[in-house]
């Protein structure tokens, strides 16, 4: 009993911060999404905003795009990160450490602008390709910016998040994996067997945790798609922002409804993902 009180006391400060800042914001978003805006004389509670969001085709378009961008960014950066980590653990080179740590320190905003300068049709990449004779004119460079497949957005995310996943996986590898692998080798396991039966189970919790963080972040992040995305459809956070800055104040509940839905969807994805991970762990 005394132990419980101690735990509660120790947790209180952290819970207060989370409660006031996070839950407070969420609660006020929920309240506004229900149409409660006394400043413009709206005090009636209704689900109209949700109805409007969920029955319009825009939300579905944006939702699918968001899942695609977040999913592709997560899968690509995770696979590349695992491969990189497997190579990097053998080399103690300082150079590679810097290459992998540098992107982590650079803000997403700067990364997005940098990628845009490289991949735009009048950018560095296009000029280089034209100079090398790969394309006739810079304008013939494929449209990778504001494009249908969100190539530049995914590139930015991969560039930013892959090193993060790599570092997490590296940390896991530096534990017992090396020794276990040696044991497996002495028992005659091949390279693939060593990876699949020995190394992967050791690093998989790290991979799952890191990739979930990447997915949740890219699902809810705003600035990169805002800068590099096409006008329509936009990913959900940009859609919410566009509604929020709509000159008609009645659009505010709609913006908040989208935000609440983003939070819900992320939570559902996280729960499913963790459950899947648990099942995998058992298997």
């Amino acid at each position: 009993m005394g132990g419980r009180i101690k735990i509660a006391l120790l947790l209180t400060p952290a819970l207060l911060v989370i409660g006031v800042l996070f839950a407070g914001g969420l609660v006020s978003a929920v309240v506004q999404s229900l149409g409660y805006l006394p400043a413009i004389g709206q005090t009636e509670i209704s689900l109209d905003a949700y109805r409007e969001v969920l029955t319009g085709g825009d939300f579905l378009d944006s939702f699918l795009l968001t899942v695609y961008v977040a999913g592709a960014s997560t899968i690509i950066s995770t696979i590349l990160a695992v491969l990189a980590a497997l190579v990097l653990r053998r080399s103690s080179g300082r150079f590679s450490a810097i290459v992998f740590q540098l992107p982590i320190t650079i803000p997403h905003l700067v990364a997005a602008v940098g990628i845009a300068l490289v991949v735009s049709q009048t950018g560095l990449g296009a000029r280089l390709a034209a100079a090398l004779g790969l394309i006739g004119e810079p304008q013939e460079f494929p449209a990778l910016l504001y494009d249908r497949y969100s190539v530049s957005i995914i590139l930015t995310y991969v560039w930013k998040e892959m090193p993060f996943v790599t570092l997490v996986v590296l940390a896991a590898l530096q534990g017992v994996a090396g020794e276990l692998e040696d044991v497996a080798r002495t028992l005659g396991a091949g390279a693939w067997q060593r990876f699949w039966y020995v190394v992967f189970p050791v690093i998989s919790p790290g991979i799952i945790a890191a990739s979930l963080i990447v997915f949740a972040f890219t699902f809810g992040a705003f600035e990169v798609p805002y800068l590099l995305g096409k006008t329509y459809p936009t990913i959900l956070p940009v859609m919410a922002y566009n509604e929020y800055r709509d000159i008609e104040l009645t659009a505010r509940p709609v913006a908040m409804a989208i935000n609440v839905l983003i939070a819900l969807i992320t939570a559902v994805f996280a729960a499913l993902y963790l459950r899947l991970a648990r099942d995998l762990g058992r298997g």
Binding site: T122, Q139, D147
Partner: protein, 408 residues
């Protein structure tokens, strides 16, 4: 010392504001002090001016000319807060109103059109004050293009600062005879696919373009100066969308996406991705040529039937902490000297809001026609003007554009 003094003064001003009006209707009191009193009270204070920050020339005008002059003449420290979108400031004020924040951070905000109307609906503006400024005598407050802001009654709650007019810009080396009507534009884009586009509404310039299309396809201006009429709108707007959809397949990126802002369109023109551009600033082309950003062969032209013009203003928020200072600053910005400086094509190049006939003769001369091959004479601009439609029309048109042009 100065800072401490400024802080004390602005706090006492805020205290006065709170004492004289309730938290809810502080904005509806208006100014009853004399200008001399305001000047005395403003001395030594800081004034926060919030304005769109995306134009280097405007920023330079404020930082390099206005700020030092205000310091010298009135002892006022001007603090410029750049906004990416004026709607952000309106949203901020709305949030402050919601939580009953009696003392805000914005003293003066650059605004017009929908943003002013939205704010006025939520009672976010202090006033009336603007018609009492000493320099208001140079302003034609009788003119509907001054006393109505996109059709919304101003009622002294904002002071006119300048005028803008929509113009088309083209590269005469790549375009021999620029399209002056909508039919010509269709033909031109068909012959030059991928080299024309417009910023996606609700961008300001994009809005102006689709409004210009509304005037063009209907051949009418008059009906849109009246209150919004759904019947008329439902009858006329399909023509606008039909035209824009017909144009779409020959736009930059085949209309699959649009430049998100005026700045992005300028970039496309600068990089020769598009050959025809547009701006709500008639001097922009000249300035960009002088800076070496646009090709020397850049020219400005007008559409047949005239182009949109409007007035932009300065407003004081209901919870502005330094209302006296804000009025002194607004009065200076409206002075003939500051307006001459503002119209310099190598600076901001913004058209004056003053009625030139009311000015002393020696100052009238300074508003001579702007020089430069890439720009047009003030006379030509003035003779080819059409008024903006009332905001409601534009809002409906924007919404319709999202549904019927962007998504289809």
């Amino acid at each position: 010392m100065m800072v401490a003094l400024a802080a004390t003064l602005s706090m006492s001003v805020a205290a006065c504001g709170n004492a004289s009006g309730g938290a809810d209707d502080a904005g509806s009191q208006g100014e009853d002090r004399s200008f001399a009193e305001l000047e005395t009270e403003a001395r030594g204070t800081t004034v926060n001016l919030s304005l769109y920050g995306g134009d280097d020339a405007i920023n330079a005008y404020v930082d390099d000319y206005v700020t030092p002059e205000l310091k010298k003449r009135y002892g006022i420290a001007l603090e410029r807060t750049p906004l990416t979108d004026t709607a952000d400031a309106v949203n901020k004020l709305l949030n402050e109103k919601q939580v009953g924040k009696g003392k805000g951070t914005i003293d003066l905000v650059w605004i017009n059109g929908e943003n002013f109307a939205t704010g006025a609906e939520a009672d976010l503006w202090f006033g009336p004050w603007a018609e009492k400024l000493p320099n208001a005598k140079y302003v034609d407050w009788e003119s509907p293009s001054i006393n109505h802001d996109f059709g919304y009654p101003v009622e002294g709650r904002e002071a006119p600062w300048g005028k803008a007019q929509f113009v088309m810009i083209y590269d005469s080396e790549k375009v021999e005879d620029p399209p002056k009507s909508l039919d010509e534009l269709l033909d031109w884009t068909e012959e030059n696919p991928g080299h024309f586009t417009y910023p996606a509404p609700p961008d300001f310039t994009g809005n102006a373009f689709i409004e210009q299309v509304l005037y063009g396809v209907t051949g009418q201006v008059e009906p849109f100066q009246k209150s919004f009429d759904e019947k008329v709108f439902n009858q006329k707007s399909p023509e606008v969308y039909d035209f824009l959809n017909e144009l779409e397949s020959n736009l930059w990126r085949e209309g699959e996406t649009y430049p998100g802002s005026q700045a992005k369109l300028e970039e496309l023109y600068q990089n020769s991705e598009v050959y025809i551009s547009m701006s709500y600033n008639p001097q922009l082309a000249q300035r960009q040529v002088d800076k070496g950003l646009y090709p020397e062969s850049t020219r400005t032209y007008l559409l047949n039937g005239g182009t949109l013009n409007n007035t932009h203003y300065l407003a004081i928020p209901f919870n502005g902490p330094n209302k006296a200072g804000a009025q002194v600053v607004a009065n200076f910005l409206q002075s003939p000297e500051a307006q001459v400086e503002k119209q310099d094509p190598n600076g901001w190049g913004d058209l004056t809001t003053l009625d030139v006939d009311r000015l002393p003769k020696n100052i009238q001369k300074k508003f001579a026609e702007p020089e430069g091959e890439a720009t047009l004479s003030t006379r030509e601009l003035q003779e080819n003007r059409v008024p903006e439609a009332r905001s409601e029309w534009l809002l409906e048109l924007e919404d319709g554009w999202q549904e019927k042009v962007l998504k289809e």
